[in-house]
């Protein structure tokens, strides 16, 4: 049906459609039941009809109340449990996901593929393997909406948010902004292009502008002066960044945080926030110096230090 059910392009879209269908059926049955009761009572107990109208003994009324209260509560708890279980299965993305960076700004979507290829208002991804989107906004809150995947995630300024999926049906689908972001909110739309892995590999190799993000990041690491403090053998006492990504970091105010993308981004832009224990808060902020593009490359470089593959 046009516009009624969007195409199912992923393994999980089907699961959620099933939950929706069950809920819709149950709801329709409840509405039908209430409707029939109302109509039935209205006819049978209309004024002047000859149906009996004595009182109902209190024990029946109490039992009725108890019954429908418990039935409702149990039904709702069951629905919660079903939805929650599905939700919990999908929280942690698999480890071998390919990562795309998404930057939203008024009123366009900028996507960067792992090999550096850039797209505007289009997101190409392969089917059959996990894809993880690392997203941020340059201005207001936007929201990436991929109806064919039944997915949506707000994209926030000053923070990373994440979305992951494994698609299974190649095709071209809607990509929409789903959070009011100003004048051209309705026009901030694009295409989600899902391709077979072979097609995807061919497409991404053929794009101009393929880059090695991590190698570029290493150049920026030096040109911004990071290596001045963070390289081994530097005079300044600064945390060693080898293997930093994913490591548990103990901060000066006695917390333990995980060094994920958000942590790395904050350490560069708001270095006073999570100072590592045992180090003085002397790192300058690079707010206004490192923009979102440069940030993507630096983070790619820092991640590469973990994997033990210096480019």
């Amino acid at each position: 049906m046009t516009g009624a059910f969007p195409p199912e392009a992923s393994v999980y879209a089907g699961q959620w459609d099933r939950l929706f269908a069950v809920l819709a059926t149950v709801s329709a049955l409840v509405v039908l039941l209430i409707f029939l009761l109302i109509v039935g009572f209205s006819i049978r107990y209309r004024r002047g009809s000859r149906a009996p109208r004595g009182f109902l003994p209190e024990i029946i009324t109490n039992e009725l109340e108890l019954t429908w209260t418990s039935a409702t509560a149990i039904a709702f708890l069951f629905l919660f449990w079903w939805a929650a279980v599905q939700q919990l299965h999908n929280i942690v993305p698999p480890k071998n996901a390919i990562e795309l960076h998404v930057v939203a700004k008024q009123w366009m979507w900028k996507v960067q593929q792992p090999n550096g290829v850039r797209e505007i208002n289009e997101l190409h991804a392969p089917v059959g393997r996990p894809v993880r989107l690392i997203m941020t906004s340059q201005d207001v809150i936007h929201s990436l909406f991929l109806p064919a995947l039944r997915l949506k995630q707000d994209v926030l300024p000053g923070r990373y948010t994440y979305l992951w999926f494994t698609a299974d049906k190649p095709g071209v689908y809607h990509l929409l902004c789903a959070e009011l972001c100003g004048t051209e909110h309705s026009r901030m739309t694009g295409r989600l292009v899902l391709m077979t892995p072979a097609d995807y590999a061919r497409w991404s190799a053929a794009q101009p502008g393929a880059e090695n993000l991590a190698a570029d990041g290493e150049k920026l690491f030096r040109s911004f002066g990071c290596s001045g403090c963070h390289a081994p053998g530097a005079n300044v006492h600064a945390p060693d960044l080898d293997g930093v990504f994913g490591r548990k970091v103990h901060t000066a105010d006695d917390r333990t945080v995980t060094a994920d993308e958000a942590y790395l981004r904050d350490s560069i832009l708001l270095p006073q926030k999570d100072v590592v224990a045992g180090f003085k808060p002397i790192m300058p902020s690079f707010q206004g110096i490192v923009n979102d593009d440069a940030m993507v490359k630096l983070i790619a470089y820092l991640k590469s230090l973990s994997a033990g593959t210096r480019p």
Partner: protein
């Protein structure tokens, strides 16, 4: 006690209703009579209903075509924002409490007025001042942030009249709080002798629960808007990420109010509907105590579910789970109420006057809207349908299909009491049915296209949704007719309607034991309450269809 009664008995040569007590404009603008204040509010909210309705009409006409035919992007954003702000804060939130609540509640408990009559008048003036700010913001070009004012769009990027719109809402919030304080004190302190808590009509309980929510939730809205105004006007960085501020903090503060706000909008409707079902089915409301507990449970639990508006905002999945769970729980008391209303019809002696038709419409539409709330409470489905027309349909089913239907039910039910006139039953029934049909035509297609992926707040949209939009807009035209009809026949009845007696419906509440329209002090002498409410027919025998009188009225007049 009889000393107290003596103070207020005035010797009159002829009966004077509250309407005749002073004919000048000043006697209305300086009144402290809760009944006149109720009418002042009724005029104000009717005015705003039509302003908000016009905005909705323009939106629906625009949406008949997928390419943005008539309005620019900015104009469209401002139009739906106008619709939302006006309808929520200048129509729905005040509607039943300040009109029917103000007028009826003191009479239903056997009081002469509310606890603080001058504060009551001040509430109305505060409302008017807030309304002036809102009108100013419209005249100044409007706001484009949506009624939700999300940051940093509202604080740093919008070039609309955000500050004056936020100021209007801020001010009107204090009107709400003052009314809430007044009503809570009234119910606690001014019940007539014999009016125990569990003899209160359900409408009074509903107003009481609503007032609790108004007093506790509205201040948080006030603070969140104040912070937005401070950031925008004084440059105070509160939600600016460049300073370490968090735009999501605004969402938490905003929704902490705005979720209980929807209960402010629906609890009074539930109260009205209980009164109407009992009277027209000639049967006490099934499970009175459970109905009371259910309303109080909704009021309390409603404070703990705000996170379900933020499932995709970047919150932790574990927080989402907790809010999802609580959102399922809060639906249970509502379900209990639906069953109890239906059971009230059982073994009744039902007649189908307009109030009952509106109440039946409420029952069906509220049930449908409430069930779709379950969809939204489950996180995976919400991730897909949030910020789509599915949500728009959900809340319109409850707020318009529910609350507005109930408002019309109460308006018709108490119209004879307020005005002393009977309206045209034939036209009223017709309007009620047209409304029900028009409403479903307008909003059912929106569920479908919402699941299909039609986002909210879009006027340029993928063309596959056009068929649903056209259906919805046609329904909107029918709704417009349905809302205009009462304006016409009710106004007509003011001049040419048959005069109503004190109790045309044969209802049991204290308000029906005084003249229609009531005297300025509500009762000639304060009643003494001798019975539980809704004693419409003796439990042991079949109610006599030829007798409209109930078995016992609630009060005993000295």
């Amino acid at each position: 006690m009889s000393d107290a009664a003596l103070i207020y008995v005035r010797h009159r040569d002829k009966e004077e209703s509250y309407l005749q007590h002073g004919h000048t404009l000043w006697s209305w603008l300086a009144t402290t009579d809760h009944k006149r204040i109720g009418i002042l509010y009724a005029l104000s909210i009717t005015f705003f209903f039509f302003i908000g309705g016009m905005a909705a009409g323009i939106v629906r006409i625009e949406l008949m075509f997928p390419h943005g035919e008539f309005l620019s992007d900015d104009a469209y954003n401002r139009m739906f924002t106008l619709h939302g702000i006006i309808m929520v804060w200048f129509f729905l939130v005040p509607s039943i409490p300040t009109t029917l609540g103000n007028f009826m509640m003191p009479m239903m408990i056997g009081a002469r007025d509310v606890a603080f009559p001058r504060l009551n008048l001040m509430s109305w003036y505060i409302f008017v001042i807030g309304a002036c700010f809102a009108i100013f913001s419209i005249v100044a070009g409007g706001v484009d942030t949506g009624w939700t004012f999300y940051t940093p769009l509202s604080t740093m990027f919008s070039n609309g009249a955000v500050i004056s719109a936020a100021a209007g809402v801020f001010i009107v919030g204090f009107s709400s709080i003052a009314t809430g304080v007044n009503f809570i004190t009234t119910v606690h302190m001014l019940r007539a002798p014999g009016m125990a808590w569990f003899r209160l009509p359900l409408f009074v309980w509903a107003i009481y629960a609503t007032s609790l929510v108004m007093v506790l939730a509205t201040p948080v809205l006030a603070m969140s808007l104040l912070l937005v105004m401070a950031e925008r006007w004084l440059g105070m960085p509160i939600f600016n990420p460049a300073n370490g501020g968090d735009p999501i903090l605004f969402q938490h503060l905003f929704w902490f109010y705005s979720h209980p706000a929807v209960y402010i909008m629906v609890l009074p409707a539930m109260g009205v509907v209980s009164e109407v079902f009992a009277c027209f089915a000639r049967r006490r409301v099934f499970g009175y105590a459970m109905m009371v507990y259910a309303m109080m449970a909704i009021a309390v639990i409603g404070f703990f579910v705000w996170g379900h508006h933020m499932f995709v905002a970047g919150e932790s999945q574990y927080a989402n789970l907790i809010f999802s769970f609580l959102s399922f729980i809060v639906a249970v008391p509502s379900a209990i109420k639906v069953f109890n209303w239906t059971a009230t019809l059982y073994r009744g002696q039902i007649t189908f006057e307009a109030p009952l038709i509106y109440a039946l419409g409420f029952l069906g539409l509220f049930t449908t809207g409430g069930l779709t709330g379950l969809f939204l409470a489950s996180v995976p489905i919400d991730v897909h349908v949030t910020d789509t027309y599915f949500v728009v349909a959900h809340f319109h089913y409850i707020m318009v299909g529910g609350s507005v239907s109930a408002f019309f039910a109460g308006l018709h039910f108490w119209w004879p009491k307020i005005t002393g006139r009977l309206y045209s039953e034939a036209w009223a029934r017709f309007a009620a049915i047209v409304m029900f049909l028009g409403f479903n035509t307008t909003f059912m297609p929106q569920f479908i296209m919402g699941y299909g992926g039609m986002p909210r707040r879009y006027h340029v949209y993928p063309p596959e949704f056009q068929v649903w939009h056209v259906m919805s807009s046609v329904g909107g035209i029918v709704l417009f007719v349905a809302y205009t009809l009462p304006l016409i026949y009710l106004t007509w009845s003011l001049f040419y309607g048959k005069k109503a007696g004190a109790n045309p419906w044969g209802a049991t509440g204290l308000e029906w034991q005084t003249a229609s329209p009531p005297p300025k002090d509500n009762f000639e002498a304060l009643p003494r309450v001798k019975a539980a409410p809704y004693a419409y027919h003796p439990d042991r025998e079949a109610p006599d269809p030829d007798k409209r009188e109930p078995e016992t009225m609630q009060g005993e007049m000295p």
